[in-house]
């Protein structure tokens, strides 16, 4: 399917979702230090506008009494029940839910942001992410 040109790279402020109506559906696009990501603006849990949630990292599974923070900048927390999803693959973190937010492939071509509507598992413009950053 032909990708949709959704603007210049500089049209997207870092760390802030822009929600676009594309093909009749809402897709949130965000530029982070790890690249561009695009997700459907619907939480699989109860349909909340997930892109209005906070983008950050989260606490990684750890031993009792210890805290480890990681996945900085690629965890999207739904503004309703606080379910957390990875931006790079849409999956709920650490097996907390079966559902996932739908992600779309983004390509940068000549400074233009190209959105591929067919659901994709990851954003190709980003390098693989480490599970943990201590």
């Amino acid at each position: 399917m032909t990708p949709v040109d959704i603007g210049k790279s500089s049209d997207f402020p870092k760390g802030k979702f822009r929600v676009l109506a594309v093909g009749g559906i809402e897709i949130g696009v965000v530029r982070t230090s790890r690249g561009f990501f695009a997700v459907r603006n619907i939480c699989p849990h109860e349909g909340a506008p997930v892109c209005r949630g906070r983008l950050s990292g989260t606490m990684l599974p750890s031993a009792p009494g210890q805290l480890r923070y990681g996945l900085g900048g690629i965890v999207l927390r739904c503004p309703w029940h606080g379910w957390e999803f990875r931006l790079d693959n849409g999956q709920a973190v650490f097996g907390t839910a079966r559902g996932r937010v739908r992600t779309y492939k983004i390509e940068l071509i000549g400074g233009r942001v190209q959105l591929h509507l067919k659901p994709a598992l990851g954003a190709v413009s980003t390098p693989p992410l480490p599970e943990s950053r201590r």
């Binding site: 009749g24 109860e46 209005r52 949630g53 503004p79 509507l117 659901p119």
Partner: protein
């Protein structure tokens, strides 16, 4: 594009499905738009001075131990003017009533409720509850005819609380009496003046935790010991509902006040199934100890108690299992609620999908009319 179209069609059908019902949202929380400044015009100058000189605020300080890890109010419910979600009636109309097709929204104020159970003294809380009641009735119910309100009363002074019930017995838009849970169980005779007034007014008693539980003196404590985190404390909220329901049954409140109904809001309902089994079994064995309990406890509950659906819980991925629980509890006892604007709001377009149209009509709408005078 076929995938996208099919998805859109499916979602549109879900939306149409929920909006077919005249939805009654039985648990909605307004906040005073400008905190106590909004409420001060509804109390005497002396009381206003009392609170302002104390530096009183609607913010109930929570210790780090139990504060919500990420904020209890939905960030996407923030109003266009930047106020906290739930603090502007005009935006609530748009963001709740219009967006989800709500026919009636029953408002309950948690700010006066926390004062009522422990954050203010008996006289202070009585004054604050009255002022909050007048404020919400005057400034919120007038904004949209779909808003209804449960007046909040202070259980610290049950006689004054009964007076407040009588004062609003015929106030347009008032549909119930919010009795915030304190550290005296609801079956205790301490509360009977309130029940007498509510029964006479034809108003149900509305039960809802206030957020003061397990933190403030005067509020309910946790059974077994002191929790360590918000998560643990959230689990303990159900204990408050369980203890109060058993108290109402075995003290004979349902017999003493044969017309009075109770709505347990945001208290869960799945627990009420095994809880009823245990109460029935206990009654079979020990009926003679409380001979005023004349019928199996589960019968009183089915007839006189409503449970709001939010936060909807059940076996994950097993809607048939949830439906079975609803059937066992009695579908006539369930009342739909969103809990707007809180973080764990339920979406009427997404929940209860596996139920029959008849059952959904009861839960989304019809049952609420059995408890609240809405029209």
């Amino acid at each position: 594009m076929q995938t996208v179209d099919a998805t859109l069609e499916r979602e549109a059908s879900l939306v149409r499905d929920a909006k077919e019902y005249s939805i009654v949202d039985c648990d909605v929380h307004p906040l005073a738009t400008d905190g106590l400044n909004s409420v001060y015009p509804y109390m005497s100058r002396a009381w206003r001075r009392r609170f302002s000189e104390k530096g009183a605020t609607v913010q109930s300080p929570l210790n780090v131990r139990f504060s919500h890890p990420t904020g209890a109010i939905r960030p996407d419910a923030t109003t266009p003017s930047g106020r906290t979600g739930g603090s502007e009636p005009e935006f609530m109309r748009e963001d709740l009533l219009e967006r989800f097709g709500i026919a009636y929204a029953i408002l309950s104020g948690l700010e006066p409720a926390r004062f009522a159970v422990g954050l203010a003294g008996p006289d202070e809380s009585t004054s604050l509850c009255s002022a909050f009641n007048d404020y919400f009735i005057e400034e919120w119910l007038s904004v949209d005819k779909r808003f209804r309100y449960v007046i909040c009363v202070s259980p610290q002074d049950p006689e004054k609380a009964a007076q407040e019930v009588r004062r609003h017995a015929n106030t347009r838009g008032v549909v119930g009496v919010y009795l915030p849970p304190m550290n005296i169980l609801m079956g205790n005779r301490h509360h009977y003046p309130i029940y007498k007034a509510a029964q006479r007014a034809g108003l149900p008693i509305f039960f809802h935790v206030t957020g003061a539980e397990i933190i403030y003196q005067g509020a309910p404590v946790a059974s077994g010991g002191w929790p360590e985190s918000y998560a643990e404390r959230r689990m303990a909220f159900y204990q408050v509902g369980e203890a109060n329901l058993a108290s109402l049954v075995f003290t004979g409140v349902f017999e003493r006040f044969p017309e009075l109904k109770f709505v347990f809001a945001e208290s869960g309902f799945t627990w009420a199934v095994p809880h009823s089994w245990r109460m029935d079994a206990t009654w079979q064995m020990f009926r003679a100890e409380t001979p005023w309990v004349k019928r199996p406890p589960s019968e009183y509950i089915r007839e006189r108690v409503g449970f709001t659906t939010q936060p909807l819980e059940g076996p994950i991925g097993d809607s048939a299992g949830l439906n079975k629980i609803i059937e066992m509890l009695g579908e006539e006892t369930l009342l739909f609620a969103t809990d707007y604007p809180h973080f764990d709001q339920d979406n009427p377009d997404w929940i209860l999908r596996g139920l029959s149209a008849e059952t959904k009509a009861k839960i989304f709408s019809r049952n609420a009319h059995r408890f609240f005078r809405l029209d």
